[in-house]
């Protein structure tokens, strides 16, 4: 698969960071990587410690229905994803916790239903669906400034919510039962957290696409966990890792003319693998 950068002139002569920063779309790409990494590092930490990666995958894939709807109505796909991913978050959350349906069944149902809705809506849309691939697999090089503003806004929302609810989120993540006994509205807090995951999915779709959101959401946090003393340090480290993976992936995809989203994920996966292998030999007590 070749990415859109293949059509750019003089690409072969530009391989160092300062050179490629001259382009506006590259600057946008870097900004997008950094902004995305902030939400990704914070929310990914909760996803990893609560082991809800599969829910996050479900929310992301359900959001494909939103992309279909956006194409059908002629809207910005990012705008269409927001309601779909929020509905998925609340739907999966309520179904698995209130109805007597097991969580993986609820996730699977939403996952497939969302994807099918997207496929049908895109089929109903006359003509060819442009950029569909970039929403499925991400394309960090085609992020317009308007999307950056939306990403920034959602980033701020995620940070403010986590800042306000840090005590409550730590409590439900570590020991939900105890949080409930202590009088916390755990279901409501749970749904708020799932909605924040949904918004983070929206933020990340531009960078790695719906299909690969889970990887970038979980890998930086998983790598950060092994040497983080607290949840907040883990968030900081996973944000750093996420930035590192995104920029390294972006740079490599530029040099070797590869799809940017997939390259970012490959870099992350490689580091994850090395870290896991080192963990086998190194100290086990923090990994347990």
């Amino acid at each position: 698969m070749s990415s859109s950068i293949a059509t750019l002139p003089e690409r072969q002569n530009i391989t160092t960071m300062p050179d490629i920063l001259h382009f506006e779309f590259i600057r946008n790409a870097f900004l997008a990587a950094i902004l995305t990494s902030v939400a990704c590092g914070i929310i990914g930490t909760y996803v990893v410690v609560r082991r809800i990666g599969f829910i996050s995958g479900g929310i992301a894939h359900t959001a494909f229905g939103g992309i279909g709807l956006s194409y059908y109505l002629g809207l910005n796909p990012l705008v269409g994803i927001i309601p779909f991913s929020l509905i998925a978050a609340i739907g999966i959350g309520l179904l698995s916790r209130k109805a007597r349906i097991s969580e993986d069944t609820a996730i699977g149902a939403f996952w497939a239903a969302g994807m099918s809705a997207g496929v049908i809506l895109i089929g109903l849309t006359p003509g060819y669906a442009p950029n569909l691939f970039s929403y499925l697999f991400g394309n960090i090089l085609t992020v317009p400034t308007s999307d950056l503003q939306l990403i920034l806004l959602l980033d701020l929302l995620v940070m403010v919510m986590v800042g306000l609810l840090s005590k409550e989120f730590l409590a439900i993540s570590f020991d939900e039962e105890y949080a409930k006994i202590s009088g916390l509205k755990t279901l409501a807090l749970d749904l708020v957290m799932l909605c924040l995951i949904a918004l983070t999915v929206v933020i990340m779709v531009r960078i790695v696409g719906i299909v690969m959101v889970i990887a970038l959401l979980t890998i930086p946090a998983a790598v950060a966990r092994s040497f983080s003393q607290s949840l907040y340090r883990m968030m900081a480290f996973s944000t750093l890792f996420s930035i590192l993976f995104s920029i390294a992936g972006l740079w490599l995809s530029w040099i070797f003319d590869l799809a940017s989203g997939a390259t970012i994920i490959m870099v992350a996966a490689l580091v994850f693998l090395v870290n896991a292998l080192l963990g086998i030999h190194g100290n086990r007590q923090t990994q347990c």
Binding site: V49, L164, L165, K167, E168, L170, A171, S173, F174, D175, E177, Y178, A179, K180, I181, S182, G183, L184, R225, S228, Q229, S230, L231, R233, M234, Q285, T286, Q287, C288
Partner: protein, 254 residues
């Protein structure tokens, strides 16, 4: 005499179609140290969860401090089993203990100096002040158990509910935990769930045997060796007489 702390009256609980507790009646008074013994699956943890308001009975009534369960407003300190904790969670002992203050904080309100002082105090009582900053993954089973006791104490409860506090610790730590409970009983009402029949009789004031139905053993504050020996064998009896009449019985073994 003050009002009882816990009153359960003809309590029936069904979980997933299975009757877990049947016709259970139980009264716990202020200052009691009650041990609930019984086999696995006998409903010990369920009884605690009913008292905490996490599980609703299908019939019968429960009153905790004269109110419906779940409305005790921080007067209960709960110490769950250590088994279900994710030891790789990046959290320090101090942060866990601070959670004991949750019931005293409003939504969005942060932990303050007073909360930290209480948490540190609780860590000192359980002998863990030097490990406050240590990550829980680096604690031993017994230390983690004491962190959970400290968490319960940090909320300044009147009633302590402990679920198998000695299940996953070595014998020496077991003694340490019982010594700790001996100290705590001076200021707290304690309900302890365990199948550690070996040493429990020496520490508690009352023993109940639970296997779906409850048998109460009232003995006053001192226990003779003869009754202790009687008790050691008792849980085995309970297992053998699994399908007894199904109503609550009160025995007086004294």
């Amino acid at each position: 005499m003050s009002d009882p702390v816990i009153v359960c009256d003809r309590l029936c609980v069904r979980l997933g179609g299975v009757t877990v507790l049947k016709g259970l009646s139980l009264t716990v008074h202020e200052g009691d140290f009650l041990a609930v013994l019984g086999p696995n699956g006998g409903g010990k943890t369920t009884l605690l969860k009913v008292i905490l308001g996490l599980v609703k009975p299908v019939s019968g009534t429960v009153r905790v401090f004269g109110k419906e369960p779940g409305h005790a407003d921080g007067r209960i300190g709960y110490v769950p089993q250590t088994l279900h904790f994710d030891r790789s969670f990046p959290i320090s002992a101090m942060e866990v203990v601070l959670m004991g203050r949750l019931s005293r904080k409003r939504l969005l309100q942060r932990y303050g100096r007073e909360d930290r002082r209480k948490a540190l105090e609780a860590l000192e009582i359980t002998g863990l002040a030097s490990l406050a900053r240590r990550r829980i993954g680096a604690l031993s089973g017994g230390e983690l158990q004491r962190v959970l006791i400290a968490r319960a104490l940090a909320g300044e409860p009147e009633l302590l509910l402990l679920d198998e506090p000695t299940a996953s610790v070595d014998p020496e730590m077991k003694t340490t935990i019982y010594d700790l409970l001996d100290n705590l009983r001076r200021h707290h009402t304690i309900v302890l769930v365990t199948h550690d029949t070996g040493t429990i009789g020496r520490h508690v004031s009352r023993i109940a045997c639970l296997n779906c139905t409850l048998d109460m053993h009232e003995k006053g504050s001192t226990l003779s060796r003869a009754t202790l020996e009687n008790l050691y064998r008792y849980p085995v009896d309970v297992v053998e007489h699994r399908d007894s009449s199904g109503t609550a019985k009160y025995h007086d073994h004294a």
